[in-house]
């Protein structure tokens, strides 16, 4: 069996999977993200972003610095869910209602 080379460790996305995504026409990092799940794991791209962008740039034959990394959704790090409601009583409007 060919040994898997992981780009995104959270969602088990391999280099081969990125190539396959590209082949099927998901060429933008945003599309690759939705198709493969890279960037969508609990690390939100901390481990994979640069490597995915680099691979995407190589496949598309463009300069990696021209590619915008997909949005990193809050929270930036895993947060115990109960905490999000902690400020609710004090009238903080972004606590979980």
């Amino acid at each position: 069996m060919k040994k898997k080379a992981f780009v995104c460790f959270c969602m088990d996305v391999t280099e081969a999977a990125l190539r396959e995504a590209f082949r099927q026409g998901f060429r933008e990092p945003e599309l690759m993200k939705r198709f493969t799940g890279a960037f969508m794991g609990p690390c939100q791209g901390k481990t994979c972003a640069a490597n995915v962008l680099q691979r995407a740039a190589e496949m598309a034959g463009v300069d990696a610095s021209s590619l915008r990394a997909p949005t990193c959704r809050p929270p930036l790090v895993p947060v115990p869910i109960g905490l999000l409601a902690a400020g609710a009583d004090e009238g903080s409007d972004d606590a979980a209602h």
């Binding site: 898997k4 080379a5 999977a17 995504a21 610095s65 947060v79 903080s92 409007d93």
Partner: protein
């Protein structure tokens, strides 16, 4: 295993008694106790162990005192803790679902969008099955839930600085000295960030910061959101901290990039920053026989650090044809084999790394392919800026890579942006652009001074100082030694 020992602390892991020591995290204690497989990966149930040792990669998720999916490397060890592994069937360490790895051809990328939706009625059944396989953590039982309600701290400051590395410290002390009230947030238990590798350079800055009267310090505190129209949100343990400020400095440093090669997820493979954290903070040797993979001089420094700590370094595999000379000369003199112009082809082992196969970078047929035995592989594949907070606050583009035309967006001009509600926002240090300690410090100082100028106006003296610091930054001949491309 340890390079230093402290008061022992006992806890249980999957029902068996394990001993760690004071100052450990759950992760470092388990690694020191010989645990290599911490978790199972989401799709293929591959074994995973400590990797970043910094709360970034989530491969060390375990259940701690009933709380599911905690990153073991971020939770401080306390005596009597109950730690359990998650996922896998019948157990995490012996997982039948591992077979999925060998049937991966059944799950091509995007399979979830195609395969399981037809026929429609089957989806319910598939869904239940997939949940069973992919759910690695059980919801806490009522008895296990937090007994105490989370607490809430609401603070105000003139400037909030996220990140207490060289850049953050410089920004905080510059702003404090301009008479501002500063709140500094860092997720480590001590100040210094990446610069802790050269403690001398840092001691002064940290001491100076601690002596500042107008500084509020939140250590061991993770900033998780700044939306640009409200407070900076962070948490420590069970406390939510929200800081509203007139200016924000983002100095969150960088994330290390993994290298990509076959089996690059085997337990025993570490990011260099992770291996060094394990060694320096907790006195835990990541292994006994190491191979170091380098693309920059970071690799040379990492190998030297491992060697100094009594880890046998089998070889340094350096992708550069010059093999890091002249810096690597010292290693060579210490009897370390330097494989210049080589890269890691794949790692070998089941459940943990046993060897790596290395091949010449340029595919030269004349040069041999080697297999090197090892129980730890440390990779130095370069860094990417940790700039998500800027992105969330401004909704501007998020560019991580340097190209022929330099860095996009964040690195241009004064590194000053504006949050969505107009709050001045500064980016300093590696978070703006990967570079040296000197650069991080200068940028930090500039951010602190500029924040003061924005908030309080400041006089001609401040404007002068800012001009001087900016000139110094412009004059800084930046070595590109710290920048690396992942192999």
């Amino acid at each position: 295993m340890r390079t230093f020992t402290k008061t022992p602390l006992a806890f249980t892991y999957d029902g068996r008694r394990v001993e760690g020591q004071d100052g450990d995290t759950v992760g470092s204690a388990l690694h020191a106790a010989g645990v290599r497989i911490f978790s199972r990966s989401l799709q293929f149930h591959r074994p995973r162990g400590l990797f970043c040792v910094n709360g970034r990669c989530v491969s060390c998720a375990v259940r701690i005192d009933g709380h599911p999916h905690m990153r073991a490397c971020t939770v401080r060890l306390e005596s009597g803790m109950t730690v359990e592994s998650e996922g896998g069937w019948p157990s995490m360490s012996f997982d039948v679902w591992r077979a999925l790895d060998f049937f991966h051809f059944l799950f091509p990328p995007g399979f979830q969008y195609r395969f399981f939706i037809k026929p429609r009625w089957m989806f319910r059944i598939w869904e239940r099955m997939l949940r069973q396989i992919a759910a690695h953590a059980a919801v806490p039982s009522p008895a296990e839930k937090h007994s105490s309600a989370p607490s809430y701290l609401k603070e105000t400051a003139d400037v909030v600085v996220v990140g207490g590395g060289a850049a953050g410290l410089a920004a905080a002390s510059a702003a404090c000295r301009q008479g501002l009230r500063v709140t500094l947030i860092d997720d480590n238990t001590d100040l210094g960030g990446g610069a802790r590798r050269s403690p001398e350079a840092l001691e002064d800055a940290a001491h100076e910061a601690l002596a500042l009267k107008t500084l509020t310090l939140h250590l061991d505190t993770r900033c998780f959101a700044y939306y640009g129209d409200g407070p900076v949100s962070a948490f420590r343990g069970n406390t939510l901290i929200e800081v509203t400020a007139k200016a924000v400095v983002i100095a969150t440093g960088a994330y290390e990039r993994p290298m990509i090669f076959g089996n690059n997820d085997l337990p025993g493979i570490f990011l260099s920053t992770g291996a060094l954290r394990l060694l320096h903070r907790y006195g835990v040797r990541p292994g006994t026989h190491a191979v170091v993979a380098a693309t920059t001089d970071d690799g040379i420094a990492t190998a030297a650090a491992l060697l100094d700590a009594g880890v046998h370094v089998e070889a340094v595999v350096d992708a550069r044809m010059h093999g890091g000379a002249p810096s690597s000369q010292r290693l060579h003199e210490r009897g370390i084999r330097i494989l210049a112009g080589y890269r890691i082809e794949h790692a070998r082992g089941l459940g943990r790394i046993r060897a790596v196969t290395v091949a010449p970078c340029d595919g030269h047929q004349t040069r041999a392919v080697h297999t090197l035995p090892c129980d730890v592989l440390v990779t130095c594949g370069g860094f990417q800026p940790a700039n998500e907070l800027c992105f969330q606050a401004t909704s501007q583009g998020n560019f991580l890579m340097e190209g022929a035309g330099g860095w996009k967006s964040l690195a241009q001009g004064e590194r000053q942006l504006a949050a969505r509600d107009g709050t001045p926002l500064f980016v300093a240090g590696n978070a703006a652009r990967i570079g040296s300690l000197a650069k991080a410090r200068l940028e930090g100082r500039i951010a602190g001074l500029a924040a003061a100028a924005e908030i309080a106006g400041g006089g001609a003296a401040l404007a002068d100082e800012l001009r001087r610091e900016r000139a110094a930054l412009a004059a800084l001949a930046e070595p590109d030694r710290w920048e690396g491309e992942s192999a």
